[in-house]
């Protein structure tokens, strides 16, 4: 580019700057002689977005893909491998509730390419025309027959495939048993709420999420997790308001306080329970005997995704059984894909946190679409939070 890329004295630099400002020298000369051109090139090379990218086998898919997903739900190494293979950088947005995802998509201009809706929300996305039907020809790694049906059937609405399974799991609670002072580990939602209002006062967290926080309060009374009955919801609200002064926080990001000991008990999803239990064995993952939520998450593409090619490439990449197996090992959420499970170690496939006993599993319910749109449930949680 230029031979004059050595150092330059302050005085010389100012002289050149004046010459450039007066218009006696060209911009090219100025950048060359001062070394600023070189500096810019060096800085430019340090920005990954500006570097030339390795070509992707299926053609250029762009430099990024934007994924809206849940906390602690991926293996970062897989994203790096995806970027390596395709040149597209994965930008991750993390959410705490399906309502938040729906609200962003309803408001428009989310900019997402891939999002991760839960089973019971997909019919609403279809009804609101916010989700793109999937072209299976662009997802060679998707094999419908490999998936356990109850965890994959919510992806198809009226015969059209809108979403492919990511992981499934349960919603229970994690409890730090070292703080129980020898008392038995709680096994029911009734004990969860009673312990919150007594021995664990100021140490319990509930999700910032209507489905699970209201659902698990309904379970205290033995009602359905999905109830939209006004009288039953009134009971749940009474319990929630009574428990609120005893809560440590209302948040779906509960791992940091559980790990540092600020919180002792929290509503918890399978993988978070597994991650916590692996690092701190005194934290147990419990499914309430009364029941609770069984769920499965899906990959889907919102209407108007700005990087459609990259979206298909990312979903297909993550559906690859070898990649998916790494995901499961990292986050601890079970997969419904038989091909993936064939690659997983036996002790993980027999882990009671990932695969609970049949009697506990049978008591669980899938979330119902009605809970997502029910105005009373939405307002109940908002009221509980602002109370």
């Amino acid at each position: 580019m230029t031979k004059d890329n050595g150092t330059i004295s302050k005085q010389k630099f100012m002289e050149e700057l004046r010459r450039y400002q007066k218009g006696s020298v060209s911009r090219r000369h100025f950048l060359g002689v001062t070394g600023l051109g070189v500096a810019t090139t060096v800085l430019g090379a340090a920005m990954p977005g500006l570097r030339p990218r390795p070509a992707f086998a299926a053609g250029d898919i762009g430099d990024r893909v934007i994924l809206a997903t849940w906390p602690n739900y991926h293996d970062e190494m897989n994203f790096e491998a995806f970027t390596e293979a395709t040149g597209a950088h994965v930008q991750v947005n993390v959410f705490g509730s399906n309502e938040e995802m729906l609200a962003k998509l309803q408001a428009g201009g989310s900019g997402w390419d891939v999002f991760v809706p839960t089973n019971y929300t997909i019919t609403t996305y279809v009804g609101e025309d916010l989700i793109t039907p999937l072209d299976t020809a662009r997802l060679p790694n998707y094999d419908a027959s490999a998936f356990e049906q109850r965890f994959s059937d919510a992806g198809t609405v009226d015969g059209t495939l809108y979403a492919v399974p990511k992981n499934w799991g349960t919603t229970g609670f994690a409890v730090n048993t070292s703080k129980l002072d020898g008392a038995p580990v709680p096994t029911t939602w009734k004990e969860f709420w009673d312990l919150t209002m007594n021995g664990y006062s100021g140490r319990t967290m509930v999700h910032d999420y209507q489905l699970t926080t209201i659902g698990n309060a309904l379970k205290y009374f033995g009602y359905s997790f999905n109830s939209v009955d006004p009288n039953e919801l009134a009971d749940a609200e009474k319990l929630l308001l009574e428990a609120k002064p005893h809560l440590f926080a209302i948040s779906s990001d509960y791992q940091p306080p559980m790990r540092n000991g600020d919180a002792w008990m929290t509503m918890c999803w399978t993988g978070d329970g597994k991650q916590l239990n692996t690092d701190m064995p005194e934290i147990a993952y419990v499914l309430g005997k009364e029941g609770g939520e069984l769920w499965s998450d899906y990959y889907a593409i919102p209407k108007g995704a700005p990087h459609l090619d990259a979206a298909y490439a990312l979903i297909d990449f993550l559906l690859n059984p070898e990649v998916n197996a790494k995901e499961v090992l990292a986050h601890g959420y079970p997969s419904a894909d038989a091909r993936t499970n064939a690659l997983l170690p036996t002790d993980l496939l027999e882990d009671p946190i990932l695969y609970p006993a049949a009697d506990l599993l049978n008591a669980l319910e899938f979330g119902a679409a009605a809970t997502l749109t029910d105005p009373n449930r939405a307002e109940l949680l908002a009221r509980f939070k602002s109370a």
Binding site: E99, A103, K104, K244, N260, A378, E379, A382, A387
Partner: protein, 283 residues
Amino acid sequence: MTQKGRNALLLTPAGLWLLVMLVLPLLVVFVFSFGERGAAGGYVPAFTLEQYANLPARWTAFKNTLILAPLGTIAALVIAYPLAYFLAVRCAPRWRTSLLILVIVPFWTSILIRSYAWIFILGGRGLPALLETVGLDDVRLINTPFAVLVGIVYGYLPLMVFPIFVSLDKLDKRLLEASADLGSTPWRTFLQVTLPLSIPGVATGCMLVFILLMGEFLIPSILGGGKVFFVGNALVDLFLQSRNWAYGSAVAMTLVAVMLVTVSVYMKFISRLGGQRDDISLM
């Protein structure tokens, strides 16, 4: 072109800006506040006062905001005034610039990250662990109104320091000498000369901090653990979780009304304090 025509032309850009960025959005919010929530959330046109009738359900959020915003403003003032006084009056001039820069430095980092830092300071392994070593057991700081207060005072302190610093810096030092020459004690000089002359800076700082605090939502949500709710949090919730745009608009309109009232009461109070002086500018 006539003088009048030129004036109108000069006002056009600012006028257009105000119209597009302030008046029109407020009008949309006003119209929405009489609507209804859609079946899956959002907004459906209607004319009902139902949203306003539901306002009591957000009373606690209004109460928290109306207590913590003034309290935060006063706490920031109490901390900022001595600092600004030191910087403007007492500090050696060669140190002044460096110290002023130190006040701005925190602004170079996002408030989000700085608030997260407070989670660790106020969390169980931070200050409470320190207090435990001196025998104060089981002190809970994080996710309390106190934590939110600490966070907002910390976050908004520079906005209070600078206006006060500027008004003290402009202060004619000969007035202080005159006061001393006439036999006044330093304390009396401060109360009768320095303080009254710095009222414009105090008023500006308080106004800046108070108005921003009334709309605050980030610090309460990070340091309040979802338990210390401001109106701002209630609004975020209504638009981003329960998707009730009509009700959210009604809450937003009410917040605007509450602010208009408190701010005009405050301006009355300040102008009385300043003795009807015309050199007090609030913004």
